[in-house]
């Protein structure tokens, strides 16, 4: 900080010396980014010269007689997060500011990006502030704030997103445009991404934008950082969070600066959390540790070309509830019957013992952007990833330090993309992509691997045409892909031998979407897409005991690609500040849906009988709806209601699909308060969230019945404190305020233990 102060001081001096008179001025309007309506009486403050003014009732402002060329302008408005902008007044005399006035609403429904990137995709996103307030949680947990998104969990430490009922191999997670490459197939494998490294998180619910690599069958999660601003001073933020349940500490620091050679940003996060707690007992061995770092550099190479480099590393160690690691069917049944899980300790502990996971992930991305002409852009991308996953379990002898699963996955992604504005209203995007995945079992486990070593080459071609026509916006997409699989399997027979298998899949996706903006604040969005997904290696060739699920899984080498047709419509009505309404009904038909079918016979081993599952295919239908209604009768009161519902059916066998999110709805009542001393933007929010029982399931489809419905009460208080010219945002959040005992259908730990009890989270954010 002192360095920053010194810089600022020097800046003052130099500014005062040079500017004998004060020739600079600035003017413009301040508007709401979502509605475009002017923000009356917004505050504008020039930090260097300490000049400030309030905008008029139309959001217009003008400041004259500024003695300095380069200034920082702070723009504030009631119920907005203050924003700081750097402006060179020699180049800019007029500047219009956009503020995230409806912080919450905007976060909920946002079709973001410039007109060039405009899309008919139904897209919900969360911004920086939401990420910071919930930064102690996992990526998937943060995303579950969005309607239509649920989480599949394995305790409090491991969670992965479910979008419209689909997860794992069927959705892709794009980290700055690169499809996350790891062991995404495991229900107990969470995406290895630090949410703090993102400036916004969004979810695309339709047939995913066909310009991206990864599975196009389900939704897409986009984790994106914004380009570093051209701002010559060091700025950043420090976030610290403490959560009482698990006694977790999260510290994050982010700094950025436009340096002499390039613009850069650095982000680091460390987390440490101990055993979580249900209302009545500790969940022994559910702690976790995390250390993440990311770096971004943007550089303009010349008039035509600019480049971006991204590096991110994610490292974690997660404990898994000791009482959930059981042996055979008999043990499983004994564990289900227990009130309190086996091995539950009476003391809190930060220690992480076996069973546990240790995962590290590295991502390096290089991007080269060339503006060939005003209508043509060329882009080259390389993305390299290394994922190392090691899982540990209690073993005989001194083998517990040896992992039971150890996988190294390298992946390399190459892309060339050409964006051509054919006319004022037509844009054609074409591209070619190559993804190479190299998955290797590290020979250190002393156990025959669950999934074999393999090499996969995936080559893709795509084209997307955007057409704008008055109130209409159309998008047509096509994607053709070829995937070559080179699998090296160790046979199950004795003596073990090596078997090589080569497989080749060719598949394609097409999509069409239209958006219609009606004059009466109504936006209609429709999207239909056909997509295919070839079977993944785990679905084809896995064999063995899957620790996390205590069942024996067997792949099926004869699986055919899944074929899906999904249609969805979104109606979005947004009238001024008063009401926002969004509803998204959808239907998805999947031919050859790949799923784990429990086999009638248990598999007998020397450790007893095990539930035995085989990958099979059937036709499936998913129907669902997401809805959001927000009412804001005054600018101080807001009521936000959300609903997520999906119904899944296996049409071939006429049975429900398992692991479908049960109906969930929530209501949040938010009240804004007057400034109290230095505390501004004070809001208090009470949320009631209800999750129904998953009744769409046969008794024979699960070991135990789905848990009962539950209702949770959450309360949060947020404020921003202004001290001199620094801002500190503080939040206190209580989740499960009433300490309700419940179990969640989508949390695998429900078989063994209750879900977590009351939790207080203190979040603080200092921006400079």
């Amino acid at each position: 900080m002192s360095l920053f102060n010194k810089l600022l001081f020097l800046f003052f001096l130099s500014g005062n010396l040079i500017a004998q008179n004060c020739p600079y001025s600035i003017s413009g309007t301040i508007t709401d980014e979502l509605t475009g309506s002017p923000l009356a009486f917004a505050g504008i403050y020039i930090e260097e010269t300490q000049q400030g003014i309030l905008a008029d009732d139309a959001g217009n402002y003008k400041i004259q007689g500024i003695c300095q060329k380069e200034v920082h302008v702070r723009v504030t408005h009631a119920s907005c997060e203050p924003e700081l902008f750097f402006i060179d007044l020699q180049e800019n005399r007029a500047k219009n500011f956009l503020l995230h006035h409806h912080a919450e609403l905007l976060n909920e429904v946002q079709v973001h990006g410039s007109s060039n990137e405009k899309s008919t995709q139904v897209n919900s996103s969360l911004g920086k502030i939401e990420i910071a307030r919930n930064g102690n949680q996992n990526l998937a947990d943060i995303l579950s704030e969005l309607t239509g998104v649920s989480t599949l969990k394995n305790g409090s430490g491991i969670s992965k997103p479910i979008i419209h009922g689909l997860f794992g191999n069927r959705i892709s997670i794009l980290n700055n445009g690169i499809a996350q490459s790891g062991q995404q197939w495991g229900n107990d494998h969470a995406p290895e991404i630090d949410a703090f490294s993102a400036d916004h998180l969004s979810v695309i619910k339709g047939v995913s934008a066909l310009a991206y690599a990864g599975s196009t069958l389900g939704g897409v999660v986009m984790v994106e950082g914004s380009p570093v601003e051209d701002e010559p001073h060091l700025h950043g933020s420090i976030n610290y969070l403490y959560n009482s349940n698990g006694r977790g500490n999260t510290l994050n620091a982010k700094v950025e600066k436009a340096g002499k050679w390039f613009r850069w940003r650095m982000n680091g996060t460390i987390k440490m959390q101990g055993d979580s707690q249900t209302p009545t007992y500790f969940l022994t061995n559910t702690g976790r540790k995390e250390a993440n770092f990311s770096f971004r550099a943007d550089k303009k190479l010349n008039n035509k070309w600019s480049s971006t480099l991204n590096y991110a590393t994610f490292n974690t160690e997660i404990g898994i509830l000791k009482g959930s690691q059981i042996g055979n069917l008999t043990d499983l049944e004994a564990a289900f019957k227990r009130e309190i899980p086996f091995f539950t300790e009476t003391e809190f502990n930060y220690n992480i013992n076996v069973p546990k996971q240790r995962v590290s992930h590295h991502l390096l991305k290089l991007e080269l952007n060339g503006v060939l002409s005003p209508t043509e852009t060329l882009r080259f991308v390389y993305g390299g990833q290394l994922n190392n996953r090691r899982e540990f379990d209690a073993r005989r002898g001194d083998r517990s330090e040896k992992p039971v699963l150890s996988l190294n996955q390298w992946s390399h992604f190459f892309e060339g993309k050409y964006i051509n504005d054919l006319s004022k209203n037509k844009t054609l995007i074409t591209g070619v992509q190559q993804t190479i995945t190299d998955n290797t079992n590290v020979p250190e486990t002393g156990i025959s691997p669950l999934i074999p070593d393999y090499l996969a080459y995936q080559t893709s071609l795509f084209g997307i045409l955007n057409v704008k026509n008055n109130r209409w916006f159309h998008e047509f997409g096509f994607r053709a892909e070829n995937k070559q699989l080179n699998v090296v399997q160790i046979t199950r027979t004795i003596p073990r031998a090596i078997k090589r298998i080569n497989q080749n899949f060719t598949f394609f996706s097409v999509s069409a979407g239209s958006q219609l903006t009606l004059p009466n604040h109504l936006i209609l969005n429709g999207n239909v897409g056909l997509a295919m997904r070839p079977p993944e290696v785990n679905e084809l060739y896995s064999f063995g005991l899957h620790q996390g699920v205590s069942s024996i899984e067997e792949g099926n080498a004869n699986l055919q690609p899944e074929k899906s047709v999904k249609a969805l419509i979104t109606a979005n009505y947004h009238k001024s500040d008063f009401v926002l309404f969004e509803i998204t009904p959808y239907a998805q038909l999947i031919d050859n849906f790949i799923y784990l079918q429990p086999q009638r016979e248990f598999l007998l081993t020397i450790r007893g009988a095990f539930p035995y599952f085989r990958f099979e295919q059937a036709d499936a239908l998913l129907l669902g709806v997401d809805a959001l209604v927000s009412i804001e009768p005054t600018d101080k009161i807001k009521l936000i209601n959300k609903l997520t519902f999906v119904h899944g059916k296996n049409l071939t066998d006429d049975v429900p699909l398992i692991n479908m999110p049960p109906l969930n709805f929530s209501s949040a009542f938010q009240v804004g308060f007057k400034n109290i001393g230095v505390a501004r933007n004070n809001t208090i929010e009470l949320e009631v969230s209800h999750t129904a029982r998953q009744s769409n399931l046969l008794v024979s489809q699960d070991f135990v019945l789905p848990p009962d419905a539950y209702t949770l009460l959450n309360l949060r208080f947020d404020t921003t404190i202004e001290i001199k010219k620094y801002y500190v945002s503080l939040g206190l959040k209580a989740t499960n305020l009433l300490n309700t005992i419940y179990r969640d259908y989508l949390n695998r730990l429900r078989y063994f233990a209750d879900d977590t009890g009351r939790n207080f989270t203190l979040s603080s954010r200092f921006t400079f």
């Binding site: 005989r396 190294n408 020979p443 063995g544 081993t605 020397i606 095990f610």
Partner: protein
């Protein structure tokens, strides 16, 4: 380093063959459990559970145990990994880690009593050695379970009651037993 070079080579050569994987030495694998029962007159009866290819694949073979009525047997358990040759003896490993292991014997048939005949370092039962006493003719099932890291102090565990033992199951085999 090998990985880096390999990755670099991939940039230019888009169709490599995957290296042969290392076949793990599955030293923890137990393929065979033998329950040898020696009567006081020296006759030997053996129950054997054998699954040479491990989980899945070919089903295990399980022999029956035929006992004489009103007889006392000394029982001993042998554990082998026969997937490698020569076969590996796992029994000693369990013996050395006696305090982390315990066998449990549960019979569904009448007229048979199995009691522990060995102790770990803490004077608690392990169950590699047992005493088996038969009475009148009967038949049914005998289940043998080896628990790793059970709670040996939990109620009833010392007497062979598995209910409160916890721990992970290393072995769980069931024999048909006939007393005739």
């Amino acid at each position: 380093m090998k990985n880096y070079l390999f990755a670099f080579a991939l940039l230019f050569l888009f169709s490599c063959e995957k290296d042969n994987p290392v076949i793990e030495n599955e030293e923890e694998l137990i393929t065979t459990l033998t329950y040898k029962l020696t009567a006081s007159d020296g006759t030997i009866v053996e129950g054997k559970f054998q699954d040479l290819d491990g989980d899945g694949g070919n089903a295990p073979t399980i022999s029956n145990i035929v006992l004489k009525p009103n007889t006392m047997y000394s029982g001993s358990i042998t554990l082998l990994n026969e997937s490698v040759s020569p076969a590996e003896d796992i029994t000693t490993e369990v013996e050395e880690e006696g305090s982390d292991h315990q066998f449990f014997f549960e019979a569904t048939l009448a007229n048979i009593t199995v009691s522990y005949d060995d102790m770990d370092a803490d004077n608690k039962a392990v169950g590699l050695k047992t005493k088996v006493v038969t009475e009148a003719a009967s038949n049914g099932k005998l289940s043998i379970t080896l628990k790793h890291k059970p709670n040996k102090s939990a109620m009833g565990v010392a007497d062979g009651n598995i209910a409160n033992a916890g721990g992970e199951t290393d072995i769980n085999v069931v024999f048909d037993v006939i007393i005739q």
